[in-house]
């Protein structure tokens, strides 16, 4: 039984990891006052570029970077459109998703049907052998380790660093931030690029570790789930973490429940992750004032330094 639990938790970790990257990246973007709906597209481009890199070079490390850069590159298109051409963020984000889906399919045409054994697991001598903690926390690939650190880093950045304070200021009132001399566009550009990079990593995780292959549209809507997580977690990194694990956890547990033959209709089981995640996050975040405090006030509003 112990082994089943460990196996289930390991699968939960892998299911939560891509959501965590994409959601935390998007959270930083939104904190700067920009709503980027292109997460799904950036994930797919990251996935295909990561997979192509590992196929042609054989290097997992390079592939992870390729995924990151691909996501970033696509997000820069969005940045140019929304920051400098003042295009609608919603429309540009949707366009980015559609573009990403199409472009990744085009780029990945010759990669369909090729297998890869997956990113190597990094074991830490001595620690991985500790019962329970070893296999649960220290038997993963580099991207999972990164996903353990990322929420802490993002939380620290937003709460304690000067740069994080500036980012929040820009997201809450771009006019005020501009008036005291911060370059709103430059800061938002960085936030968008960070969001793109994280979505790219989420994609790289999908095609290099989660199911190490490339097929069209393999993200299957995870970008949209990440977007929803950010809102339901009311822009707080700890709750994004909780939401991602809750969603991943219930997804996996309901599969196990089905395999055990528990007599609950599978349609209900498939709804559970969505229902439970929304219910829990809404319940713990129902304080309206706190939501107001955390929600970036300028989200979605265009800004131009001369107007």
């Amino acid at each position: 039984m112990n082994e089943i639990i460990i196996a289930a938790v390991l699968t939960i970790i892998t299911a939560a990891t891509p959501l965590l990257y994409a959601a935390l990246g998007e959270m930083i973007t939104e904190k700067s006052g920009i709503l980027n709906l292109g997460v799904e597209g950036m994930i797919l481009l990251g996935a295909v570029c990561g997979f192509a890199t590992v196929h042609f070079t054989g290097s997992g490390t390079l592939a992870v970077f390729a995924g990151l850069l691909a996501g970033m590159a696509l997000s820069s298109v969005f940045a140019v459109l929304t920051l400098w051409f003042q295009a609608s963020q919603v429309a540009s984000g949707l366009a980015l998703t559609i573009f990403g889906i199409g472009l990744s399919a085009l780029l990945g045409k010759d990669l369909v049907g090729i297998a890869y054994e997956g990113l190597p697991k990094l074991f830490i001598l001595g620690i991985t052998d500790i019962p329970l903690i070893g296999p649960l926390l220290f038997s993963h690939d580099i991207l999972v380790y990164g996903s353990f650190v990322l929420p802490l880093a993002v939380a620290w950045f937003l709460k304690y660093s000067r740069a994080g304070l500036i980012l929040r200021a820009v997201g809450d009132s771009h006019d005020a931030a501009h008036a005291i001399g911060f370059s709103v566009l430059r800061i938002r550009l960085m936030a968008i690029l960070f969001g793109g990079a994280m979505s790219g990593l989420a994609g790289a995780y999908l095609s290099l570790a989660y199911s190490p292959l490339w097929i069209e549209n393999m993200s299957a809507g995870r970008g949209w789930i990440a977007l929803a997580l950010v809102v339901f977690a009311t822009w707080r990194p700890g709750r994004v973490f909780l939401g991602a694990y809750l969603f991943g956890g219930i997804t996996i547990l309901q599969l196990h429940a089905q395999a055990l033959g528990i007599g609950v209709p599978s349609q209900v089981m498939s709804m559970l992750p969505y229902l439970a995640t929304i219910a829990v996050l809404v319940l713990i975040s129902r304080d309206r004032n706190k939501i107001k405090l955390n929600a970036p006030a300028c989200i979605g509003k265009p800004f131009h330094p001369t107007s």
Binding site: E3, I4, A7, A8, T11, T14, A15, P18, I98, I101, G102, A105, G108, K109, V112, G113, I114, A115, E117, G118, L206, Y210, S211, P212, L213, I215, E216, N217, M218, A220, G221, R222, T251, I252, L255, H256, Q258, A259, L260, G261, I262, G263, P265, S266, Q267, M269, S270
Partner: protein, 359 residues
């Protein structure tokens, strides 16, 4: 997904618009064939096999074809089918169950255009239906699983609780228990035709709970990859997936639409196309099997081959009695065979399937 199809449609429209549409006098250069796909052509499964069929038509008959991929079932499908008909396609294949009503609706508005709908049951003068008896292939998989499973637990990753999928589960289970009467099937429904991550997770959950063979009725090769990593066996779905699981894949069911598509397009060119209902299987070659994996021993191959041969020559039917339902009650008597009507509406599990059928 939908938006990408628009791009493809525009391309298709440009190609078709440059040809002059002649409704009655059909010559090779005048036959335009359209295809509507539910998934991306790069899914390496269901849609991929249909697209192979389309390419085979182009190559064999030299006709123009066009396709629209990733078309959502429902209202969007109707628009896409109508566009294909407006653009001068005179034979249109709609390749998913959910296109049934949209196909019928558009067919009524274009009486001179011929339609072929896969896996449906509604026909009209200009609408044919066609499908494959995949359950025949499942019976072969079940036979192999009965021999190859050491602990008698097989994991089945299922998509949606429709008769087509239930029929596959039952055919597999019956054949497996003919070899090993103690063996059971654990079914996990993922409520999706295509989600590599979730399919892989389902495979992991099943393996963690003791399954040593994984089989699937979903479209991506992710479960095979998991099986390969975990050192258990699996069966490919819709096409040969041994590239993803060189050691794990025991065999695969292959959908082969090529001969059917070529025959139907040829009939349209020669002017003798008529509305029919086709449900072909191993005998006609619409269902084919991939080569056996290296680990399948000679006696198991022989057993699988003999099941295949007896299905083809008609001496055996996968749903030949005695068949018991999940509760152990006899539903098909010895010597009886379930008829096609019962197969098409199947909504119950046979003995040996664990869990409750969602409905």
């Amino acid at each position: 997904m939908k938006r990408k199809s628009v791009l493809k449609q525009v391309t298709g429209a440009v190609i078709s618009a440059s040809l002059i549409f002649g409704a009655q006098a059909i010559k090779a250069e005048d036959v335009n064939v359209g295809f509507v796909y539910v998934g991306p052509i790069g899914d390496h499964g269901w849609t991929y096999r249909h697209d192979e069929g389309r390419k085979a038509v182009e190559e064999a008959l030299g006709v123009k074809t066009s396709f629209v991929e990733s078309v959502a079932e429902g209202a969007d499908a109707e628009r896409v089918i109508r566009t294909l008909a407006t653009n001068g396609n005179n034979l249109i294949f709609t390749t998913s169950f959910g296109y049934m009503n949209p196909t019928l609706k558009v067919a009524k508005q274009f009486p001179n255009v011929k339609f072929e709908h896969a896996t449906g049951y509604k026909r009209a003068d200009n609408v044919s239906t066609y499908s494959a008896r995949f359950y025949e292939g499942r019976a072969i998989l079940g036979t192999i699983a009965g021999h190859m499973s050491k602990n008698g637990v097989v994991g089945y990753i299922a998509s949606f609780p429709i008769p087509e999928v239930v029929r596959g589960i039952n055919a597999f289970t019956i054949a497996m228990r003919k070899v090993n009467p103690e063996a059971i099937i654990k079914v996990v429904w993922v409520n999706s035709w295509y989600d590599p991550g979730k399919e892989g997770d389902a495979a992991k959950a099943l393996i963690d709970q003791g399954a040593d063979i994984i089989t699937q009725h979903t479209d991506s090769p992710a479960p095979l990859q998991v099986a390969e990593q975990r050192g258990v066996y699996a069966f490919g779905q819709a096409s040969d997936m041994s590239a993803f699981a060189p050691k794990a894949q025991l065999t695969a069911i292959i959908d082969d639409w090529n001969p059917y598509y070529i025959a139907r397009v040829k009939a349209a060119m020669e002017g003798n196309w008529a509305s029919t209902d086709t449900w072909d299987g191993l005998k006609e070659g619409m269902v084919a099997m991939a080569p056996y994996g290296d680990v399948v021993p000679a006696d198991v191959r022989a057993a699988a081959d003999s099941v295949k041969a007896s299905i083809i020559d008609g001496s055996f039917h996968p749903f030949q009695g005695p068949v018991n339902n999940q509760a152990g009650e006899n539903v098909v008597k010895t010597g009886d065979v379930l008829d096609d009507g019962a197969l098409l509406g199947m909504d119950w599990y046979v003995e040996g399937v664990q869990g409750q059928l969602p409905n």
